[in-house]
């Protein structure tokens, strides 16, 4: 937690937009990326992440300091993404778009062949996971949250987080393996 985070929270509660923007400076990129991995669409990701951040601003009065601000913020972002997906329910993005979606362009092509697993294909395959697994893979492997933070963000206990991460990874690996050895 930043030193002045408490002060910034107080100011944001009073409706100070500048203070709020300072407060979320380090978080908004992650918020955007979580939404992007979830929704795989730049426009939707921007809309949903911004909507979530505005919701954070509006309901910061109700933030009760029981968890860290960071955890609370990401919980709202994750829930906003899940809500958005639930509303849309059908994933209508064409495969082309998925293919254009690239992780790292600077990788050496030889390396990729060697590795078998490229971040590109992994990234695409994440979309095929069910939401629970997808969420946990995004939080753990892409955003790098600790097990403890994830258990707080998702409001579930540590044991569940451990087993769910393990199962999610196995599922994802199976999906990729099926793609690769087709």
């Amino acid at each position: 937690m930043k030193d002045n985070e408490l002060w910034l929270i107080e100011q944001s509660r009073k409706g100070n937009v500048d203070a709020f923007e300072e407060l979320i400076r380090d978080y908004k990129k992650s918020a955007y990326n979580i939404a992007l991995r979830f929704l795989r669409n730049v426009e939707d990701a921007e809309d949903v992440s911004q909507e979530a951040l505005i919701k954070v601003f509006k309901s910061i009065k109700n933030f009760n300091m029981q968890s860290t601000f960071k955890v609370w913020l990401y919980r709202i972002v994750v829930n906003a993404c899940l809500d958005f997906k639930r509303k849309k329910s059908i994933d209508f993005y064409p495969i082309d778009e998925l293919m254009n979606f690239t992780g790292s362009n600077d990788d050496n092509p030889d390396d990729m062949v060697d590795k078998n697993y490229t971040s590109e294909i992994v990234n695409m395959s994440i979309n095929k996971l069910e939401d629970d697994f997808k969420t946990i893979i995004i939080l753990r492997d892409i955003q790098g949250f600790s097990y403890n933070e994830i258990s707080e963000i998702l409001s579930c206990n540590l044991g569940t987080v451990k087993s769910r991460i393990s199962r999610a990874r196995k599922n994802l690996k199976d999906i990729i393996d099926a793609e690769l050895y087709r």
Binding site: L53, I54, G103, D141, S166, R169
Partner: protein
């Protein structure tokens, strides 16, 4: 250790979440089991690829757009919007409910038959046999009561702190003060004969006719039908005799008898008068001893105040005496023609038919009233409905 367990540990191994002994265990197994070793390498590649996914930068202008939205949110008073909508809709709902209830209670439901039966029920509830008995019960009850005020000391600042205490005489000597009033409405076929018979009875009982207001109500078949309002005073012990007499002589439509016990009130006032009289006596003695004019004036003032109070109390005492000794009967006499009286003795089917028609009319009336009411409140109702729909849509959007 079997290889299935390895799968579970693998994930945690890469996150460095294993305990030391689990880690050791895991690594040992990898050295022994080539299958798991292969799996481990594959998994490692996979995790690396997963971690290779880089964070994307938000599109250009992301922060600006967020900034604008935040400012917009702030200026919209978005802070309290949800609360406003919530409480606003609750308030609107309450207003609607109240207005509906109050308007519905104003709709009159034509049920003539019902009010009629109520009247006869009231008539039955006070039968003349019962009433005197009720009076007796009251008497015994009151006698056992204590009169607090009798024992009270009257502290009057007017007489330089002098206290005058008066004990009233024994309660047993007291006469009950009960004001009996009757309100009777009757129908008669021959108004003049009825009035003359009543007048005779009143004079034999020792009462008098305080008011007689007779008027011709309408003319029916060349016959004048009269209506009269009489106020009759009879000695209180003859009250029930007289009520019975009226009942025998005519058809009673409505009767209500009220006995008000004013004994307590009466003797409280009576005691006050006695206390005041003693006070007056003292004042007079003081007046004789007074030396200066100022003193005399002061005492005179006090005397006047006491006297006025005594007079006021005496007037209300004599009024109670009068009303208690002479009961009042307010008699309404309605002359009806014979035909009218006959018509009242319909058979069951006719009465049922009338009741049925009455009820149907009432229902029709009620329906009409509802339509009139809905149309008349529509200027309020329609905006409210529109507002509620808008609120509903907004809430759903959220």
């Amino acid at each position: 250790m079997n290889c299935n367990e390895m799968n579970d540990l693998m994930s945690q191994y890469f996150d460095d979440e294993l305990k030391d002994e689990e880690k050791l265990y895991f690594e040992n197994h990898l050295k022994q089991c080539s299958k798991c070793k292969k799996e481990f390498e594959s998994y490692k590649n996979f995790i690396n690829a997963l971690h290779d996914i880089k964070e994307e930068n938000p599109p250009a202008g992301y922060c600006d757009r967020l900034h604008k939205k935040l400012l917009n949110e702030k200026s919209n008073k978005g802070f309290d919007k949800i609360r406003w909508i919530k409480y606003g809709s609750i308030a609107a709902a309450l207003i609607i409910v109240f207005s509906v209830i109050s308007s519905l209670s104003n709709l009159n439901i034509g049920m003539g038959g019902m009010s009629k039966s109520e009247n006869s029920a009231k008539y039955d509830s006070v039968s003349p046999e019962e009433a005197p008995e009720f009076g007796m019960n009251m008497k015994t009850e009151i006698q056992s009561e204590e009169y607090d005020l009798n024992d009270a000391n009257y502290d009057d600042s007017g007489v330089e702190g002098q206290r005058i205490a008066v004990r009233s005489e024994a309660i047993g000597d007291k006469e009950m003060k009960i004001i009996k009033t009757g309100n009777i409405a009757v129908e008669t076929e021959d108004y003049d004969k009825f009035i003359s018979e009543i007048s005779t009875e009143i004079s034999t009982l020792g009462g008098y006719l305080e008011k007689n207001n007779t008027q011709v109500r309408h003319i029916y078949d060349n016959q004048e039908l009269k209506y009269g309002n009489l106020i009759i005073r009879v000695p209180q012990d003859k009250f029930y005799d007289f009520v019975k007499f009226i009942e025998n002589l005519s058809k009673v439509q409505n009767k209500s008898i009220l006995e008000t016990d004013v004994t307590k009130e009466y003797y409280e006032k009576d005691n006050k008068v006695k206390n005041l009289e003693i006070q007056e006596e003292h004042l007079r003695q003081l007046f004789d001893k007074a030396n200066t004019v100022e003193e005399m004036l002061q005492i005179e003032n006090e005397l006047r105040r006491v006297r006025t109070e005594i007079d006021g109390l005496n007037i209300s005492l004599s009024d109670i005496d009068d009303r208690a000794s002479m009961s009042t009967i307010d008699l309404e006499v309605d002359e009806v023609s014979r035909a009218n009286l006959m018509a009242r003795r319909d058979n069951v089917w006719d009465r049922a038919r009338d009741g049925f028609i009455n009820t149907i009319n009432g229902l029709v009336n009620f329906g009409e009233n509802i339509i009139v009411w809905i149309i008349s409140i529509s200027p309020i109702l329609i905006p409210i409905i529109i507002i509620l729909i808008i609120i509903g849509i907004r809430i759903r959007k959220r």
